[in-house]
Subunit: 348 residues, 4 copies
């Protein structure tokens, strides 16, 4: 489907535009000259705020998109020869066209995961062959918070992973493309989540930004070559102030948290409504801003005539419905009505 | 130097902000939902316009920055084992932290160049060893138009390169980060320049955009894996409409050409003024938006107290002064007065 | 365990030394000077023979080891952005330390396989997302003949894969580290197997060579950059005649086939003997030169005191017992007696 | 030219075969089974000897060829983002088809060198831009001992480089493909040379081996991922004992030193003879086993009818004449007579 949807899209949180406050900050940053590549006051303020909210002892780096953040973040932690342990459903494994392998030359050692989460037990199952040169050597565990299926690790789950990794000479990279949604769901600070990682990304684009993400290095020693990797990975923006301004708007007055909380609430509202529609089965706990549901393929087809969303798994007829910072209650209600109508009509 | 310069920066054309028309287009694109990753009307219009102005039979791809465009463009043309011939001064060789080597695994076979330009003769000098597996095998010639030292290839020069390359099984990549300035200087169309390349970039950021570049594939066959490389190279934007909107503004009513022509005129005005200051020697023909000048290091130091610009080559005390779409005549005149004062005062 | 085993090793077919005929050929090649890097009569004869037995229309390339052959072979067939479909048990996935990812930047899309073999159905299950830039794009299917678990594809099975791949724009790479064992088991020619691949390796080291493998390109067009990739992959030998001589000895009078047939027969003899030992369960059909067996971990430990072999899967107490060209019937019988003794003694 | 030369080749030290003692050691290692991948007594003895003669505190690793040694050695010292400073004439720059760029993704920052040697001054000239993310960041200096043009660094020269590098956060990789020739010329130990490097290769192939090189890690900390890189770089031999045996023969009774000393002496004898032939100009000091000479292209053509050697630089009609461990005095004298005849005849 091309172009502007006639109704609110439930296709992705990046179908939404830019939050008005973010856009205003971008416009206001367009004043006179500013030094390029980040030596400007907008970027410096954003970096300072990102370090403050995450508690990082290292630096924060603004980058251009989520794949850029993930590849750079993993690259900071991986030895030249090392592999990454991650869930089969991890974005780096399924949705980035093999960028980690292509750019870092690393191998992804995947583990099956029922709910998008990885556990110490699953990690342990991938450690056979350490020290044997014939086997890929895991050096980093990648977790996604919130996960690709809309679930959130509890802080206890994350801490258990961090502890296990620390005890097993593994580093933790946290893909935080939807970190805000997890913080909003858990009701914790970014710093509490960040303390369970060595390097993390903090996503802004899906949270109302126009297009910017951050890579946050928790320990200064891990960031020694970060700025060079950012440049080599083609993630250094020249007019960086326009990236910095976006983060400044989101981090002011916790706009990022309100955006995420609102999107989560809309997903929860959708899930609540679905509970009354027996033809639709919600397949993962609804914690962040996504609802995964199984319904008859004919119902899917009918709904897609008027509504934008993606089929997640054709083989099981599972769809993904996502909300965003700008999804309104009436959007959800209208969508629920359409689902009810379609499923009811067809099942008659 | 951090932040906003007290006076107009002559440091770089990316110290300037975003042209008001571009910013307006970005703001206006922020309307409701749009499908992500380029399936939106803004991007589709931009792609159509880029193909039209370049005469490309292949596709155009919006990317996030200049290094991204260069690496992707080279990657489309390079065999897995091949090397690139380029000028020693080429941006890909000197200013991208080795991104081409890191990301593509290619070798850059550099040639010395007096004025930033490469010639058939210089290329020919790098062809020894073809067919011998011990030698790096050149597959692509990279030219920059306008060059890193502010000069422009004439169409005749570009055509001679293209013809030589075609006769020698070499492909041509054209780094057009400042293509607009070259078109404005030569008084030719983008298509005339593009016809001398197999793949080219068309830079917008230095021309008044907020941050976007295009990779243009002249022959459809060269673009078969383009969209996958863009994704693997972390150059695919999710909210792509905001990139498309920028190009739409620049390509409307030839704003790109007017911006470039104005910047060029400001550089020419600066060069004209320098002709009356004997302590300053202009070292390259001033054709695009840059003036390279040699002056006493003490004069450089004095000037930098009040004015933002970069020393290009410390060993020869050569500086680079750049203009931009928003440099005003009064900025140039004020800067000239400052140069005159500093050089006169010190030489007394 | 270090060094020479007191008894015949059942650890690997590369625990064996060099076949006397191969060693003699190496010694005889040490006569005066010869041009380096393959322009010598030994290598030229080997290449000619390899092309003859495989029916290749392209060239054959001698390389230094099996990983080198696999990475080069895959590299010849893979587009810069493409991924490889292979069995989870594939050597390239489990035993090469991630070399394919590291050197080629490719992603391995693995499929579970009960018997080490891949099928059109399994391949088909990995084709979702073709044409979508977010998904890794499979370009090559890698099969191993004989497989890592000692089974052999029938010609019908291989042809079905080739046909499916041809119909689905996929190329076939065949890892033939133990191609000889498969040909001996099936009773077919190398050419019949090779005709099911686009590029294959033909292993000599496990077949009695000192250390050499061949990469065979079936269609000339696929080999255009082969010699450059061999050099870049550090697989070009300077005193190549000593590699060529090894292949010449193996290809003369079908020594390769006799060696493989003998090794297979010894594995079959071992399997036959095991049929009378109820405490040992053979877990895969014994077709090539390996027997995979499940037995009590305490029995494994006892046996390993005197006999060299590897545990394949600790979690299921599965071991791998391999024969070689120089395994004698008495070695097998002595080993069987030891197994019987150990399992009987402990189970009393 | 293909195949066996009718007369002693002066084309390369790897046109020679295998020294009889080395061949004998290979034959003698073919006794029964041995554990694969290096856990055998021949390899263990070779590693021990290599550590002893080099004084290494880290490990030594046997690899399959010179490019393999260079890429692995550089890879051990390079940060993921770093570049290498080397002479324009360095083998890694001119003769390995871009393997370092392809495999390591590194950039080679070359310096012009009159005699194949690099100096602290030349290195210093490549350090501009350190700390600036736009510039490639040198992390390693690569030196070749003896150099590609047959010259040898004195220990004082090497120590000056090491000291400069240590003071400038640079590591030293020493390409010792012809380390033996340098030790023989200087009259020093391997350890004295090795102490000036962080990692080095020790070449055996050009010194009379059949095909093996060593990578020696001077400080244990640099070798942490060495065995994994060797495997990923496809340099791990399965029947490693045949590599170990070669080194054992060369290191016994200083055969390596006698071989190198003899080859050097033959080059010196050739140079001495050339001094009496005015039509031939020797262009580099003759220190190792090579003579570079300039002579009339017609003389080159005449000589090449009967003698095997390479033209080094067509543009200056410079040829390279190499000796080997098995070059005899009579070979040199016969070659000199031919040169004299050809140049005299043609100059009459």
């Amino acid at each position: 489907m091309t172009g502007q949807a006639p109704r609110k899209s439930f296709g992705s949180d990046n179908h939404a535009g830019t939050h008005p406050d973010v856009l205003r900050a971008v416009v206001e940053a367009n004043t006179g000259d500013a030094t390029a590549y980040g030596a400007d006051p907008w970027t410096e303020r954003a970096i300072g705020e990102l370090k403050r909210v995450s508690g990082a002892k290292g630096e924060a780096y603004l980058v251009l998109n989520g794949s850029g953040a993930n590849v750079m973040g993993l690259g900071l932690l991986l030895g030249r020869h090392e592999a990454v342990i991650c869930a089969e459903t991890a974005h780096i494994n399924t949705d980035e066209c093999g960028a980690a392998e292509r750019i870092l030359g690393t191998k992804l050692l995947t583990v099956p995961s029922a709910d998008g989460k990885i556990t110490p037990e699953l990690i342990a199952g991938r450690l056979a062959g350490r020290g044997d040169e014939h086997f890929a050597q895991p050096g980093v565990v990648a977790v996604t918070q919130s996960t690709e299926v809309g679930t959130c690790y509890s802080l206890a789950e994350l801490r258990a992973i961090k502890e296990f990794c620390a005890a097993n000479q593994l580093r933790v990279y946290l893909d935080g493309a939807r970190l805000a949604n997890a913080a909003a769901f858990i009701g914790c600070s970014v710093a509490e989540i960040a303390s369970c990682a060595d390097v993390l990304s903090f996503g802004a684009t899906k949270n109302g930004a126009m297009g910017v993400e951050a890579v946050i290095v928790m320990h200064a020693a891990d960031g020694a070559n970060a700025k060079y990797l950012r440049k080599q990975h083609m993630q250094l923006s020249s007019k960086m102030r326009f990236l910095g301004a976006q983060f400044n708007a989101l981090l002011a007055d916790d706009l990022w948290l309100r955006n995420a909380g609102h999107a989560n609430a809309m997903a929860a509202r959708l899930a609540d409504g679905l509970a009354t529609i027996p033809e639709v089965e919600v397949v993962y706990p609804v914690q962040a801003d996504a609802v995964f549901a199984r319904l008859d393929p004919r119902h899917v087809a009918s709904l897609q005539r008027d509504w934008m969303f993606h089929v997640w798994d054709e083989s099981t007829s599972t769809v993904r419905w996502m909300t965003a910072f700008d999804t309104e209650e009436s959007d959800v209600d209208e969508f629920l009505a359409a689902i009810a109508a379609v499923t009811g009509a067809l099942s008659v």
